[in-house]
């Protein structure tokens, strides 16, 4: 098992990105996958006016839910408790894992089967369980594939999107005992099905994430296509759900619009195969379902984003992944280059709250601010504005930096700041500007021939022989 990846040195982010860009096979499969997902999404929104009205509603529901977040969490907790679901709160990944291991030990659990959960990735649950001597097996096909390969998901919806079927065929033949090489997708899926079915029947605990939590009814909504989510939440005697505190809505009637935005934006489906709404453990006269259901609510930096009015919109996210599917940077570098649990545009704006800006500021600058993410976001998160805000926080003077984001000021350089001040002054004072341009054209021969990234594939820039204002004078 690989080591936790939750620290992202900026220099390594660049190296990782470079190696992906230099790999033509990976470029082709990423481009193909993104084109596929973009086309499927776009086919789901033929009527733009309807889409805009639905987005208005989705945005309003998420903003409303956040505006009443503390009350809604209390109502949710009371309702879930009344329904027999046990609620736990964790400020940090360590606390979440401790709570989980405690639950596992109380039930003498040896093995855990997992439905897809990005929050369990965020807290590195598998790693913590392994250290506690508990087997954790991923059951979503994509997650199963990346777990077999000792990797992490490279996309929040399609975890193995970076792998070709031939790579998966080789992986199965190498890592699953008794399996011969086949690159038939149907056969590969049936192999996965067979292996995992045995595990569902034997697992002591099933783990899942949550897409929406409904306060008024005390309901956990899960969306999926494969059925592994339903298996994980129904077959084992204990079900533990883990999610972020921001996923709550007040009314059940708030679910249909968000559900429609989620499935259409994520995979271009009008609805997923299964929409699973869980409101209680097995009742006494029921034949199946877990005897105990637990919910772990995770903070891990979300309250930091919440505290700032602008950054709060980060928490509107319903995790559809459309922003990464449409991001020109994600499409070139793939999900692993980021090194964070959540890649792509949403990862750039949420990771600083989870991990601190000191280790993640390089992500906010790895963007052209083209705005494609904001254009497709089903709940209208202003991602480019948030990227600019995070850059400002990262590059501000630590002595005077705001306390909105942990690690603010960590990218500050006094030399860079002095240069920016000089630049600003040059443009503010006409005399200084004239002097600067006069010097620039006079000493143009001093311009360096190598100008960083620019001269990799461009000719070096040089000031003009004569200034624009001098040329204008000649024409007068």
């Amino acid at each position: 098992m690989s080591q936790p990846l939750n620290f992202v040195p900026v220099a390594e982010f660049r190296e990782r990105a470079r190696s992906v860009v230099a790999n033509p096979d990976l470029q082709k499969s990423l481009r193909g996958a993104m084109d596929f997902l973009q086309a499927k999404r776009s086919a789901q929104f033929p009527d733009d006016a309807e889409f805009q009205r639905l987005r208005d509603l989705g945005e309003a529901i998420r903003q409303y839910s956040l505006s009443r977040l503390p009350e809604l969490l209390e109502v949710l907790e009371a309702k879930l408790t009344e329904n027999g679901i046990q609620v736990h709160w964790a400020e940090t990944p360590e606390q979440a894992n401790t709570i989980f291991i405690d639950i596992a030990q109380r039930h003498n659990a040896r093995s855990v089967i997992k439905g897809k959960s990005m929050v369990s990735e965020e807290v590195e649950l598998n790693h913590a369980l392994q250290e506690a001597g508990i087997d954790a097996l991923e059951s979503d096909m994509g997650e199963y594939i990346v777990q077999l390969a000792d990797e992490k998901p490279s996309h929040i919806i399609m975890p193995a999107i970076h792998k070709t079927k031939v790579e998966i065929a080789e992986l199965f033949a190498e890592r699953i005992p008794g399996v011969d090489y086949t690159d038939s997708v149907d056969e590969l899926i049936q192999i996965g099905r067979k292996v995992l079915r045995e595990k569902f029947a034997a697992a002591d605990i099933g783990v899942s994430g949550v897409n929406f939590m409904v306060a008024e009814t005390g309901t956990l909504c899960l969306v999926e296509n494969e059925g592994n989510g339903r298996m994980s939440t129904t077959v084992p005697r204990v079900h533990v759900a883990i999610t972020g505190i921001e996923k709550v809505v007040e009314k059940l009637a708030h679910v249909p619009p968000l559900l429609s935005l989620l499935t259409r934006s994520a995979t271009g489906q009008a609805v997923t195969t299964y929409v699973n709404m869980i409101s209680s453990p097995r009742k006494v006269d029921e034949a199946d379902g877990p005897d105990a259901v637990h919910l772990i609510l995770l903070d891990n930096g979300r309250t930091q984003a919440y505290a700032d009015e602008q950054l709060r919109s980060t928490l509107q996210c319903i995790r559809c992944g459309a922003c990464m599917n449409h991001c020109p940077v994600y499409t070139r570098i793939g999900g692993h280059a980021y090194g964070t649990t959540y890649p792509g545009p949403i990862g750039k704006i949420i990771s600083p709250h989870l991990l601190g800006l000191d280790s993640t500021y390089g992500l906010a600058t790895a963007s052209t601010l083209c705005g494609a993410c904001a254009e497709v976001c089903p709940v209208r998160i202003p991602i480019p504005d948030l990227l600019i805000r995070l850059r400002t926080e990262a590059y501000s003077n630590p002595a005077t930096a705001s306390e909105a984001v942990r690690g603010a000021g960590s990218a500050y350089s006094s030399v860079a700041m002095a240069l920016w001040h000089a630049w600003a002054a040059t443009y503010r004072y006409p005399a200084l500007y004239r002097l600067f341009t006069w010097c620039a054209s006079r000493f143009r021969f001093l311009t360096p021939g190598k100008q960083g990234g620019w001269t990799v594939n461009h000719r070096a820039m040089q000031p003009a022989r004569r200034r624009f204002r001098d040329q204008l004078k000649d024409r007068a």
């Binding site: 509603l57 400020e91 505190i245 009637a253 409101s279």
Partner: protein, 220 residues
């Protein structure tokens, strides 16, 4: 580590943000602006959406249902079919089905789980309602209707009373007042189990049923 502390700290930080509550959004307006269809059109849409999603749709009437269902079970050689209390309560239907297959009751807690994995060929369930817009069958899982019947066996057969076909999930929730409380589990099913996790190639029978057979029961 004290649980109360983590909870109170999180809620305390959220309260400290002093966020002004926004007005409650009402989804009714959005759904009211959309076209409402009559029952016959809704049923056609339901059947079309289900077929497009690779579900096998059979249209029948309540008097013909036992024969139609027996035919499906025989044609697919389903020798053991698991049922819950809701189907068992339909004595006449069960009597007829027992001529073509063995019905396995799933009524005792956890008792049949292993059998469902190992030797049951199909699960037969009723449905609570259906949704035309997305081509979905809604299962209301409680003491009458177990959850695993529609999930573990390789074939899921579901009976749908088409008079219970709604325009949208929103209309269903709203008209049936779901906000006042839900059973242990509600599931919307819209196709056989599927995945596109390997190179975006669609494959059926990922973890759940490989076949979804929907019997639309229409009485005119």
């Amino acid at each position: 580590m004290s649980q109360t502390t983590a909870r109170d700290k999180i809620l305390g930080r959220l309260r400290a943000a002093d966020c002004k509550p926004l007005p409650l959004p009402d989804a009714t307006d959005f759904y009211a602006q959309r076209r409402h269809e009559d029952l016959a059109t809704r049923v056609e849409r339901l059947a079309l959406n289900l077929s497009n999603a690779m579900a096998e749709v059979h249209r029948t009437t309540s008097s013909e249902l036992p024969a139609a269902l027996s035919r499906v079970i025989r044609d697919k050689s389903l020798s053991t079919v698991a049922v819950g209390r809701d189907v068992l309560a339909r004595q006449a239907l069960c009597d007829q089905l027992q001529n073509v297959c063995a019905l396995m009751p799933v009524t005792t807690a956890h008792a049949e789980t292993a059998a469902l994995f190992d030797r049951v060929d199909a699960g037969l369930t009723l449905s609570y309602a259906a949704i035309a817009e997305t081509g979905s069958v809604v299962l209301w899982c409680d003491s009458q209707s177990p959850r695993l019947l529609s999930l573990v066996p390789p074939v899921h057969i579901v009976l749908v009373d088409v008079r219970r076909t709604f325009d949208t999930l929103f209309a269903l929730m709203h008209q049936e007042n779901w906000g006042s409380g839900l059973p242990t589990n509600v599931v919307m099913v819209s196709s056989p189990s599927k995945t596109a996790d390997i190179q975006q190639t669609l494959a059926y029978g990922a973890h759940g049923p490989k076949q979804l057979i929907v019997m639309l029961v229409e009485d005119h």
